[in-house]
């Protein structure tokens, strides 16, 4: 029609249309930006997590090299080093009995927690669940006995467990739990408890990071003993006492079990190493914690003595490898030495695919280059260390010879000869516990984690075909939705710790397999708050947490950042263009983050597209600084290396008491500063020591020390308490640092 009314109506309608499109397009942009923020946040958390793992490996490499080539010239030195790197002994049964010794542990009448009697019954397991819900703690006696029985049981199991869907209709597979008891409760609530009708496979990483690793282990072990045919546990890379030192499990045990914690930890070492390595369902679905490599050999894996491998990447504290290391002394010192054929714990990357396989020459060359670079840097550190660590009691013994005074016994010689095969076995285990899938074909060293490799879809395909498998289930990596397929749905990652990085960061999931072996997923998020938040609020919250961590990292590299910024500020204006900011920051932090995407959140005030970098860094420092009077460069170094520092202290504190002697503190700090490449005078160390109350028998409560510098991780509730900590007085620290 052509009437004015219909004309008006048409116009009105057109306006509505236009308005709708406008709103929709505005809203879609809003959502897109949220999505970008979410992705960036995820990247921040991941890259920080992995760079921490790299630190761990570097530290271990340093200690390994130290152990091989540093020959103590005085009894003091020897004691110090040997105490730091105590020998590993694989315990015989009788020794374990003696060690475990739960009999002598009395349960007082005042104890109100659950009592366990053996053999365990289903009622005991449910009683434990109830008790932990009530925040009770299992008495050390029962813990030790439980560990003892668990070990006995695990010893009977093969390396690869074969299970079938015909006995219990469905099998539920859970991934990393990392001490999140709430998630385990949620899984049992949604899926039911383990029972003859309900089989479970728990795919490793039960401990570390979360605060209830002890409870999770107790529950899992209890159900394991009660339903041995239905409950199966695979070892993860965190079932490893060296890793536990850094990531919190050791600390948790010592906090909860002050008297018997040490015993429990030692016992746990002997339980972890007996955990099976993999589970096979219906001969078709292989479940293991990390992944595979192009060298993975299931037949070999089935045969090896898995308990011989107590700890994985980096530190191997066995006598025989130390012997072998000595032969390499002179070669290594001169910068020569075999590259590509190393004993596992020397200065090359552990668990690396150093065997010449179907690898291209390019990747071989880069591996060798990497090994050489690591060797060089470790060598430098060792030289520094030698200069720094002086023992005043033996003034004459300044020279440290390469010849060791330790005599070689016959048994040590024997174990020397078998080291090659044990190296291969060790690598097989590292690969399946530490590897990650990658989209590209091939197999290359996992430099991010420092152990295992990155394996491509071709590697997956090869192993599936070789053993007639349908697909792999693994864990080891946190996934937004709790699970993720890759390699053409041939590899499934399942991750069961929700809110892993922060409340709202990710869901957890478990997968159920019936006789048809078709996976069914159940996702969850174990936190009421997470549910009530809108997407926007959830993302904001997680983002806040990520950026806090990132700002801390930036602060920790202040000196290097200033150098980098100055190189872009040739005219010394005190400012740099914003576009150079991103390049500079990446060159220093090397986190591989999309800095230009993150810039709006990190840089607030700019004038004319340029940043005043000095004041920007000062603002960062104000946030972080807890001790105004400590020289900022020292604080920066502490922050940068805090988990290394903590780990070194914990290694020194071999009885896990939280106390080290003043002398040990002194030596530790020197070792630390040489490793971290800063100069620290004796006065500097003394000032630090004086800032801590160590007037108890010349011991330093290093927990207090770490607390004082905000080095321990705080949960949100602990933060308030931390703010109330007294600031210890320090007159001046006479320490220098470069830059």
């Amino acid at each position: 029609g052509g009437s004015p009314q219909s004309g008006r109506a048409r116009l009105a309608y057109k306006n509505v249309l236009r308005a709708a499109v406008l709103i929709q397009r505005w809203y879609r942009r809003y959502v897109a930006r949220l999505e970008m923020r979410r992705r960036c946040t995820w990247r921040i958390f991941q890259s920080i997590e992995y760079s921490c793992e790299q630190d761990q490996i570097k530290l271990h490499n340093f200690f390994s090299y130290l152990m091989d080539h540093f020959t103590p010239s005085s009894s003091k030195e020897r004691d110090f080093i040997s105490r730091m790197l105590t020998e590993e002994e694989s315990y015989k049964d009788t020794e374990v009995e003696k060690l475990c010794d739960y009999e002598s542990v009395e349960v007082p009448d005042s104890y109100t927690g659950p009592h366990l009697s053996f053999p365990l019954l289903p009622d005991h397991a449910t009683a434990l669940l109830e008790a932990f819900k009530q925040k009770q703690q299992l008495h050390a006696r029962y813990v030790l006995k439980l560990l003892h029985e668990t070990r006995k049981h695990l010893m009977q199991l093969p390396n690869i467990n074969h299970i079938s869907t015909c006995y219990s209709e469905e099998i539920t597979v859970c991934g990393d739990l990392h001490g999140r008891l709430d998630d385990l409760f949620l899984i049992f609530y949604k899926n039911g408890l383990p029972s003859p009708e309900k089989s479970y496979v728990f795919n490793g990483d039960f401990v570390d990071r979360g605060k209830q690793s002890v409870e999770i282990l107790i529950i899992l072990f209890a159900f394991l003993l009660v339903y041995p045919k239905e409950v199966h546990l695979n070892r993860g890379n965190h079932e490893d006492h060296m890793v536990n030192l850094r990531y919190g499990f050791t600390k948790e045990v010592m906090q909860k079990y002050k008297v018997h914690g040490k015993k429990i930890l030692k016992m746990l070492q002997n339980v972890f190493c007996w955990l099976p390595l993999a589970t096979l369902i219906d001969q078709k679905v292989l479940i293991l914690h990390g992944g595979v490599s192009d060298m993975t050999d299931l037949e070999l894996l089935a045969k090896i003595q898995r308990h011989k491998v107590q700890t994985l990447p980096g530190l191997r504290k066995t006598r025989h490898t130390r012997e072998k290391g000595r032969h390499m002394d002179s070669q290594a010192i001169n910068g020569e030495g075999p590259v590509g054929v190393d004993p596992p714990r020397s200065s090359s990357f552990p668990g690396s695919c150093l065997q010449p396989g179907p690898a291209s020459t390019a990747s071989m060359a880069s591996r060798m280059e990497l090994a050489q670079r690591v060797r060089q840097s470790v060598q430098e550190e060792l030289e520094n260390c030698r200069r720094q660590v002086e023992f005043s009691e033996t003034p004459g013994d300044k020279e440290l010879s390469c010849v060791s005074s330790v005599t070689v016994t016959e048994s040590e010689l024997e174990s020397c000869e078998t080291s090659e095969s044990s190296q291969e076995e060790w690598k097989q285990i590292v690969d399946i516990l530490w590897s990650d899938p990658m989209p590209q074909e091939g197999c290359k060293m996992n430099t991010v984690r420092g152990g295992g490799c990155y394996f491509g879809p071709d590697v997956t395909e090869k192993i599936l075909q070789k053993h007639s498998l349908q697909f792999l289930i693994r864990s080891h990596e946190c996934k937004q939705e709790g699970y993720e397929f890759c390699h053409n749905r041939k590899v499934l990652t399942i991750f069961s710790a929700s809110n892993y990085y922060e409340i709202g960061s990710n869901r957890g999931a478990y997968v159920k397999l019936g006789p048809d072996l078709i996976p069914h997923f159940v996702q969850y998020q174990a936190n009421k708050t997470a549910h009530t938040l809108t997407m926007r609020q959830r993302i904001s919250r997680v983002e806040e947490s990520a950026f806090r961590a990132l700002r801390e990292k930036l602060f920790a590299h202040t000196s290097d950042l200033i150098c980098a910024f100055k190189s872009y500020d040739q005219d010394e204006t005190g400012t740099i263009p914003l576009s150079d900011w991103a390049t500079a920051v990446e060159s220093v932090l090397q986190l591989g983050l999309p800095w230009r995407m993150l810039r709006p959140q990190l840089v607030c005030s700019t004038a004319g597209g340029r940043l005043e970098y000095k004041s920007w860094l000062d603002d960062l420092a104000v946030e972080q600084r807890s001790q105004e009077h400590i020289q900022s460069s020292l604080l920066e170094t502490i922050y940068r290396n805090r988990s290394n520092l903590e780990t070194i202290f914990r290694i020194i504190d071999s009885d896990h008491s939280g106390l080290i002697s003043f002398e040990e503190f002194h030596q530790t700090w020197k070792l630390f500063s040489s490793h971290m490449n800063i100069e620290l005078t004796d006065d500097g160390i003394n000032d630090l020591a004086r800032s801590i109350d160590f007037n108890k028998d010349g011991n330093i409560d290093f927990n207090e020390f770490l607390e004082a510098f905000r080095l321990l991780e705080h949960s949100h509730c602990d933060k308030k308490a931390a703010e109330l900590l007294p600031t210890p007085p320090i007159r001046h620290s006479s320490c220098k640092s470069p830059g």
């Binding site: 306006n15 249309l17 308005a19 709708a20 397009r25 990247r43 809108t534 263009p577």
Partner: protein, 167 residues
Amino acid sequence: GEEEKDGQQEEQLFSIIADIQKKITDAFEVFDHECNKTVDVREIGTIIRSLGCCPSEGDLHDMLAEVEEEEPTGYIRLEKFLPMMTKVLMERRYRPVPEDVLLRAFEVLDANKCGHLTKEELVKYMTEEGEPFTQEEMEEMLSAAVDPETNTVRYRDYITMMVVDES
């Protein structure tokens, strides 16, 4: 003199372009999961919008047509995306919607001029008119836009909240 000034301006222009290109590459790489300079075509909208543009679905369609392969593979290559996106940003196309224009758009939908929309009204407009929302998009918008007490969308407050959140 003149030549010098021209030279300086040219240099500035080059550095602006270089900065834009680095920004685009950074955003692209966030979604480049296989680390091979490609992204899933379904993520292109997110990338373009997070770079500051506010295209409609129709605009997006046009941009995609420029960067897709002759035989669509489901992936977009950085090689093709970069020049297109650089031009878009240099020409300042698809600028974001200013707050006052957004407000007027809501007012157009608010036929009774009462300062708010009912939940049903908003759903009707967003899922039936213009470039309709999916159910997921609708639910997500409602979760933040609807005032639970009155069950209405007080659009003025809603806009203010969203805009603050953005900055």
